[in-house]
Amino acid sequence: MGPQTESAEAARLRRGDPEALEELLARYQHRLYRYLLRFARDRALADDLFQQTWLRVAQKIRQYDPSRNFDGWLFSVARNLAIDHLRRYRPESLDEPVPGDPAGEPRHARLAARGPSALDRVLERERSERLVTALGSLPWIYREVLTLRFEEEMKLEELAEVLDVPLSTAKTRLRRGLEQLRQILETQASPGAWS
């Protein structure tokens, strides 16, 4: 939430103004969905968690403290719901990394269908797919820290707040997450193939 609109919006939210909440939904829909999908690795579950998060937000919005960063609050709500869900229905996923399956049509089929200018895009997409697959095979504590830092571009302090851990722990998770991700990528392909 930007500083200019923050106080006016916070006041509308505390009144339970549906328009204000819908504006928030529009603003955060992609970011929140991406975070939940990276966390859950399953579209149906991400959809479910997405809905639950916004319902919880609608329920708790009157208790939102505007002095607190809204991004952090929203992602904390989503994270708590996701962890509760995994703990209840898929406890094994909180401990064990599950390798993902590389999806999509074969590379040669895509290359044959496109001209040279499309080649870069295909390779880029392939690199992204490989990276998403590798990210998906990390334990959830590393997946979430990497997505919050690199995709959500959260500062270390915000990140620690969402994860509810000290700054040093957030930093350690970030480093270990990157190290594991690189290790996975390097065992899948030649070093630097993703760069």
């Binding site: 970030l174 480093r175 690189r182």
Partner: protein, 156 residues
């Protein structure tokens, strides 16, 4: 752990742009004389760059619309629930005011036939106890009735 190994541990964090000033100075100093670490940092930065450029998955329009509708219903429900105690308080106050204000008229119209319902100061406590017990009984019956309603009707 020697300086070189310590710096190696900082490289992923440098790619994540989460080093503090002291660590950054230390890293810069080391990179001036270590081409291996400089090359390694390049690899980490490429990985960070790749993560930042991952395509963003989109929530479907159906999901968004469904979420929007549920959110509106939830808000309306929360608004109603927060207003309920005030409405109840207002109704109780209104009924007491109405009863007290109309009592002289009722007495006049019934030509004093209901005079035995007049509350004297001596029997006021008895009246209060009677009203309180009656209120509890009504509330208990209402609670039992509401609890026995089918779940579907309660959430509808």
């Amino acid at each position: 752990m020697n300086e070189h190994d310590a710096i190696r541990e900082l490289l992923p964090l440098a790619a994540a742009e989460t080093l503090d000033e002291k660590e950054e100075r230390r890293l810069d100093q080391h990179l001036l004389s270590c081409s291996d670490c400089a090359a390694e940092l390049g690899q980490w930065r490429a990985l960070g760059h790749g993560l930042r450029r991952l395509p963003t998955p989109q929530a479907s329009a159906v999901l968004l619309e469904r979420t929007r509708q549920q959110m509106r219903a939830q808000l309306a429900d929360a608004t109603e629930r927060s207003a309920n105690p005030w409405v109840m308080g207002f109704l109780v106050l209104l009924s007491w005011t109405f009863a007290l204000a109309t009592w002289p008229i009722v007495r006049f119209l019934t030509a004093g036939a209901l005079g035995w319902l007049d509350m004297s100061f001596r029997s006021a406590w008895l009246g209060l106890v009677g009203y309180t017990v009656l209120g509890w009984i009504v509330a208990a019956v209402a609670a039992i009735f509401l609890d026995r309603r089918p779940a579907g009707r309660r959430t509808a």
